[in-house]
Amino acid sequence: MATKQVRYMEIEAEHHGEYYALMLFATIGMMFMTSGIDIVVQFIALETMAISFYVLAGFLRHDRRSNEGALKYVLLGAFSSGILAYGFSIMYGLSGSTNLQQITVAFTLRAPADVLVLLSLVTVSAGLFFKVAAVPFHQWAPDVYEGAPTSITAYVSVASKTASFALLLRLFQTAFWASRENWTLLVAGVAVASMTVGNLAAITQTNIKRLLAYSSISHVGYVLLGLVAGNETGFQGMAFYLFAYTFMNTGAFAIVILLRRKGLIGDDLEDLNGLSQRNPGAAVLLLIFMLSLAGIPPTAGFIGKYYIFLSLIQTRHYWLAVFAVLYIIPAVYYYFRIVKHAWMREVTDTVRPVASPAQAVALTVTVFISLVAGIYPEPFVRLAGYSLFLPFGPLGR
């Protein structure tokens, strides 16, 4: 990530040291979020990450869109963090401990439809769904994605989402697992709504970052479907999907960053015109990322979706599977609008976007994963499988 920033921020004339410090804080936060098993630790970690991102989103002090995005992020984020804290407090109250293992034990002893359990479920979900930008808590995403510096957008869209999902998954697999039949419908509803809003809203976008924001919302829907399925394939699929998503989304944003230069933000579709003539390599990489995001084989994105679909079939959620696959069609439509501008439109802006060596490294890694994990996914699939083992033993479902 940092490799892409340097030139971008120089152009923005906002190249400050705090930028990197904040990114590192966010990273620490995320690492603790994913590995913590104590809800207090997780909450602190989440807040660390969130606050760092609030500031980073508004880093372009002179840009109105950046300020607007950051403000929305702060307000909505603070609100949802409050709700999340409330949920956590209920969990503490019911179990007398902040340790996730003991909370799980306490929750399992209660009736699955216990009101307080459900209350904690709903509030915690609300907080976390905000973080991952699932419907109906997604309103902040398009504005923040569009306004923030593109590299931050990339980081937020993958890292914050993945870390929050890790936390979400951790909580659902442990504390809330006992009350599963009560939240399956809820999560399914959120998933379908996310896919719907994400896919349909992205169709009309002309700003690439906003388009990718809405598409991220739809990706969240897909990952949540893995949770609805709730079997081993589903969880493995979620892990693999997020892994693939990280790389392909970063790659896509990296191409947008390439376009940035003095006087041109480079996030409009028209800025991509004729990229295949100006920088064919970048255009090919863009195509690969778009294919991976849409879920066309032989890319990593397809393998991720494959696992999700398989898990739905295995758990007999046939109609959900049909909806999920049919939503690939609008996705291809808007991803290919990007491809169309890059490949089939005449050049309107003859400046050749060149990648700095650091950016080239970032692009190489992302495209490598996007393709290789699609053509030979075996090692990555195993990795995804291992990641599901909780600190206190395998799921054994």
Partner: protein
């Protein structure tokens, strides 16, 4: 040599990709080099597939030249290739048409040659992969992989409405493909429930899927149906075809009509029928498929008559011809099935050639409107001769390939339903009508448009693209036996699944003491028809 023989399918499959990779290293400014390289690898792709003709054994049951590598063991996907008679013919069609289409692009494509030839070669590999693949996952990957180069071929090098046609083609075909993915996953998972093993291996699944419950089979059939029906294309999923064919560059149209459409029918023959035999032979499904086929035949032909654009006319004629093919498949008789497969090959040859012919005219005059032409046999006599042969081949004139296919299909359909065969015959008449009328308007009479007076006749390269197709058309038309020989065994295996007891019935009837064998064929047709009917 031994390595080559054992891995011939991989060689055939990856030769075009090798060409594409090589082309990546040549700078885009050297477009002459790209043109040559593209053609070299097109030819090479065909040459490496020629040994298959010698080495393929038509009398052996099952799949030949099998290759198997572990690919994704954790989900049970393997790199498995293999061909039987049906896929053998389709693979050969692909390599021949691929080489010819690349050759036909020599002067037609002026811009961005590097990307064009790379994409075309990638498309070649995609198509070959679909026909050779014996692993469902691999099949699906190749099926989808094909869409992207085709999208670009239409969208970048096509004519006026290319962007619309390209995305329409992509989205429409994708819609079918994703539903097919669900059906594939359904089969995969049900097999796991039955046997405890996760595998995508088609041969393994073939042995188990006929024992799926009928209701499940029917759901799976419809899941697969959408992908194949959109690809063929069957009515009412055909609306992407006129746009895609018309707007694509000539070579794109040739490959689209010649090979891509066959993937739909191949899917029915390779997957729907053998894997889901009870569903495929169930009364409702057969009735629906036959109805849609007949509508395609008649409607496609009628719409052809109204077309003003030559390419669109030929595009709709594809709908009509492939209606014959699907009708033949769902007759579920050996004649219907083998006639259908042969007719697919024939269609590839004749419609491919028709698109080449339109492309030749387009290169000269940059218009496809019929009204712009007229009396072209005067300036272009060689062209007129070849065009006439191809038209006759497409409409089903005896001595040419179309007749053999159509007759065999109707023979197979007649066994099942006389009324269906009657509708099919009407389709043949209409086919003759629009093709001959088109020929008359374009070629006969006096030269109405002064711009046509000095059109150059076929040059050597154009001859080279058309003559092989004419030769094949004549060969199949006069001596189709070797082609049918390839189809005998695979068709027999499929018919035994979907129409069990068919061969016993015909053999029983044939064993009855009758007049010499020439009469036993009609005698067999009459008694089997009622039993086939009452069985349904």
């Amino acid at each position: 040599m031994e390595f080559f023989r054992q891995h011939i399918l991989s060689v055939v499959l990856f030769t075009p990709v090798a060409g594409a990779v090589l082309a990546l290293f040549i700078p885009r400014e050297k477009d002459e080099a790209h043109r040559v390289l593209g053609n070299v690898f097109g030819m090479l792709g065909f040459i490496v597939s020629v040994p298959l003709v010698w080495w393929f054994n038509p009398d052996a049951a099952g799949f030949q030249f099998k290759e198997n590598l572990d690919w994704i063991p954790s989900i049970g996907a393997h790199y498995t290739l293999g061909i039987d008679g049906i896929s053998f013919l389709l693979v050969m069609l692909t390599t021949v048409l691929g080489a010819i289409s690349i050759l036909s692009s020599w002067s037609a494509i002026q811009l961005r040659k590097k990307e064009y030839y790379i994409l075309f070669l990638l498309l070649q590999t995609g198509m070959l992969g679909v026909f050779m693949s014996l692993d469902f996952f691999l099949f699906y990957v190749f099926w989808e992989v094909m869409l992207v180069p085709m999208y670009f071929l239409i969208g970048v090098w096509g004519s006026d409405r290319r962007l619309y046609a390209a995305i329409k083609f992509f989205l429409y075909t994708l819609a079918g493909s994703v539903l097919m993915l669900l059906a594939i996953l359904g089969i995969y998972f049900k097999y796991y429930e039955m046997s405890g093993v996760y595998t995508f291996d088609i041969l393994t699944l073939l042995s188990a899927t006929p024992s799926f419950p009928l209701a499940l089979q029917q759901w799976l059939f419809w899941g697969l149906f959408f992908a194949f029906a959109i690809k063929v294309p069957m009515f009412p999923f055909h609306t992407w075809l006129p746009d895609a064919h018309t707007e694509a560059p000539t070579a794109g149209s040739v490959i689209l009509a010649g090979v891509l459409l066959k993937m739909g029918t191949y899917g029915f023959v390779r997957f729907s029928l053998p894997m889901l035999p009870q569903a495929s032979s169930s009364r409702t499904i057969v009735a629906v498929m036959a109805t849609l086929s007949i509508i395609a035949i008649i409607y496609g032909a009628l719409v052809c008559m109204m077309q003003k654009d030559m390419k669109k006319l030929i595009a709709y004629s594809s709908v009509s011809h492939l209606g014959f093919c699907t009708l033949g498949i769902f007759a579920l008789t050996p004649h219907g099935l083998s006639g259908s497969i042969l007719q697919q090959i024939n269609h590839g040859i004749s419609t491919g050639a028709l698109f080449l012919i339109v492309g030749i005219l387009y290169e000269r005059r940059h218009t496809r409107l019929i009204s712009e032409f007229g009396g072209l046999s005067t300036p272009m006599p060689n062209f007129a001769a070849i065009y006439l042969i191809i038209s006759l081949s497409s409409l089903g004139m005896p001595l040419l390939n179309g007749f053999i296919g159509e007759f065999t299909i109707l023979r197979g359909v007649f066994e099942v339903s006389k009324s269906w065969a009657a509708w099919g015959v009407i389709g043949i008449i209409l086919g003759a009508a629009y093709l001959l009328w088109l020929y008359q308007r374009v070629m006969f009479g006096s030269v109405s448009n002064p711009a046509n007076e000095r059109l150059p006749d076929l040059n050597a390269r154009e001859f080279a693209t058309l003559v092989p197709l004419v030769a094949l058309a004549l060969w199949i038309g006069v001596y189709p036996k070797p082609f049918f020989r390839y189809l005998d065994r695979p068709v027999r295996q499929i018919v035994e699944r979907v129409n069990p007891g068919y061969y016993e019935r015909t053999e029983r009837v044939n064993a009855q003491p009758t007049a010499p064998s020439a009469d036993s064929a009609p005698a067999a047709a009459a008694p089997t028809k009622p039993t086939a009917r009452e069985r349904k």
